[in-house]
């Protein structure tokens, strides 16, 4: 569950006015809005990467308003994937587990599981550079999900993909809430992406959530 209550932020001319979102556990929410309207800012605030003037953020009934990003245990997939290019694909997938000193056997099993699900097995020993857009996003997704976060935040993960890869990724993302047992907040410009993936669709306009659409499941 993701609960954002009255989030306010002002940065120069840009501002967010009392933004509130409620995304029930296991739902796939889409946040839409024009470029520069503050979608990424909200996502970064939920992830703990950006401070804000006032408001409260709850993740699975836990108040994380003042928690560090590490304490929040969220998965985060940025627009460009932001892979760790000094590491192999396997090390990228294992990162959230190795940083927590998980036993090698646990790490190996989880990496193999993710690689099998995301069809990354053939890339595990390759350095994470020069990969296609689809591969990059699948690795970023696997890396974000490795530690079983209850919340997944995705910032326009499909925007740079070609049509075919995008469709394949959409099929993958459709099963995400059930497969990975996560609550998803996904930012996009694309109406069709929103229609195909979103259980809940929020629209951000001029610093406020202007409308919410919900699909009956």
């Amino acid at each position: 569950m993701i609960d954002v209550d009255n989030l306010c932020l002002k940065q120069g001319a840009f501002h967010l006015n009392s933004v509130s979102l409620h995304i029930p556990k296991g739902r796939y929410a889409i946040l839409m809005g024009k470029t520069g309207c503050g979608k990424t800012t909200i996502l970064e605030a939920v992830a703990g990467l950006r401070s804000f003037a006032s408001g409260r953020i709850m993740l699975n009934d836990r108040d994380v308003t003042h928690a560090t990003p590490a304490e929040r245990n969220v998965g985060y997939v940025p627009q460009d994937g932001a892979l760790f290019t000094t590491m192999t694909v396997g090390d990228n997938l294992a990162f959230a587990l190795t940083i927590r000193n998980q036993p090698a056997a646990v790490v190996k099993a989880r990496v193999e599981q993710l690689a099998s699900w995301l069809q990354l097995g053939h890339l595990l020993n390759r350095r994470a550079v020069g990969l296609s857009g689809g591969e990059t996003q699948r690795i970023a997704l696997g890396r974000a999900l490795a530690n079983h976060p209850p919340v997944l935040l995705m910032d326009e993960p499909l925007s740079s993909l070609d049509e075919e890869t995008r469709e394949r990724m959409i099929e993958l993302l459709k099963v995400l809430p059930k497969q990975a047992e996560v609550t998803v907040l996904h930012i996009t410009h694309s109406r069709s992406e929103a229609d195909q993936l979103g259980d809940l669709i929020f629209r951000l306009q001029e610093g406020r959530i202007e409308s919410v659409a919900s699909r009956v499941l």
Binding site: T68, P69, A70, Y76, D80, A82, F84, T85, T86, I99
Partner: protein, 263 residues
């Protein structure tokens, strides 16, 4: 045809500087003889000077990185009160005449209460080997900081943010993600600091002096030989310096820094 003339024009204008550098090195090379070079190498004072130069430049490069990595990161990735002032202060060693820098170091360590306390309680700095390193460091570190700042500005902060969400503390994200991504910049900053220290002369002359077998480094050796007057000896030492400088540049490029925009 027109395009050919255009590129020729650019090549002549830009190439004239390349020709000047090559001409200077070639002139030095033909001015000296193998005998001069051997004589210089067999001179104990020059051998001491070479050793002190290599050691002091290496220590200076390490110290420069020690301050340049954190400062470059702070300037590139954070906003803080007084940032513009700090940025300007860091440019002072770059814009000041080296002699002024040496003079300022001398005043600080020899003519102030802090300097007197330092001398009485810790060690004397001026006219000693630490003065050589401090004089080199005071200039070299500024260039290393600039290089590290550019490096951190050129690498995306996004990976660091992802690392934080994956469970890293700030320090872990820095050591595991930020620094490995900036490794080429670190290498370049270290190399630049080393090379800059090699060429430092003014601050060393004023703050450390040029006492043979004590504070004499290659740059001051050239000056001492030239004033002696021993022009062939000065040129022989200059050729050693050129050789060391070229070696460092070749090494830097061989380590794969080409194309990073840093060398």
């Amino acid at each position: 045809m027109r395009e050919w003339k255009y590129y020729l024009c650019l090549s002549i204008l830009g190439g004239s500087y390349v020709v000047l550098i090559v001409a200077m090195v070639v002139a030095d090379f033909f001015f000296t003889t193998p005998g001069d070079l051997l004589a210089a190498l067999n001179d104990p004072a020059i051998r001491y000077s070479i050793n002190l130069t290599l050691i002091s430049c290496t220590v200076t490069a390490i110290l420069s990185l020690w301050v340049a990595v954190p400062m470059g990161y702070l300037l590139a990735r954070t906003q803080f009160w007084g940032k513009t002032a700090v940025d300007t202060i860091l440019d002072i060693p770059i814009v000041l005449p080296p002699l002024v820098l040496g003079l300022s170091l001398l005043i600080l360590f020899d003519y102030t209460t802090i300097g007197e306390w330092f001398r009485a309680n810790i060690m004397r700095i001026s006219l000693r080997i630490p003065a050589v390193i401090l004089a080199q460091f005071s200039v070299s570190a500024a260039f290393a900081v600039r290089t590290m700042r550019i490096t951190f500005e050129q690498t995306s902060p996004r990976t660091e943010q992802v690392a934080l969400t994956l469970g890293c503390t700030r320090a872990q994200a820095f050591w595991r993600i930020v620094l490995p991504e900036a490794r080429k910049g670190v290498l370049t900053a270290g190399t630049l600091a080393w090379a800059r220290a090699l060429g430092e002369f003014g601050p060393i002359m004023i703050f450390a002096g040029a006492t043979p077998n004590l504070t004499e480094v290659l740059s001051t050796t050239v000056w001492l030989r030239f004033s002696d007057p021993d022009l062939p000896g000065a040129v022989a030492v200059a050729l050693f310096m050129i050789a060391i400088g070229v070696f460092v540049l070749v090494l830097t490029r061989a380590l794969g820094l080409r194309g990073t925009g840093l060398v």
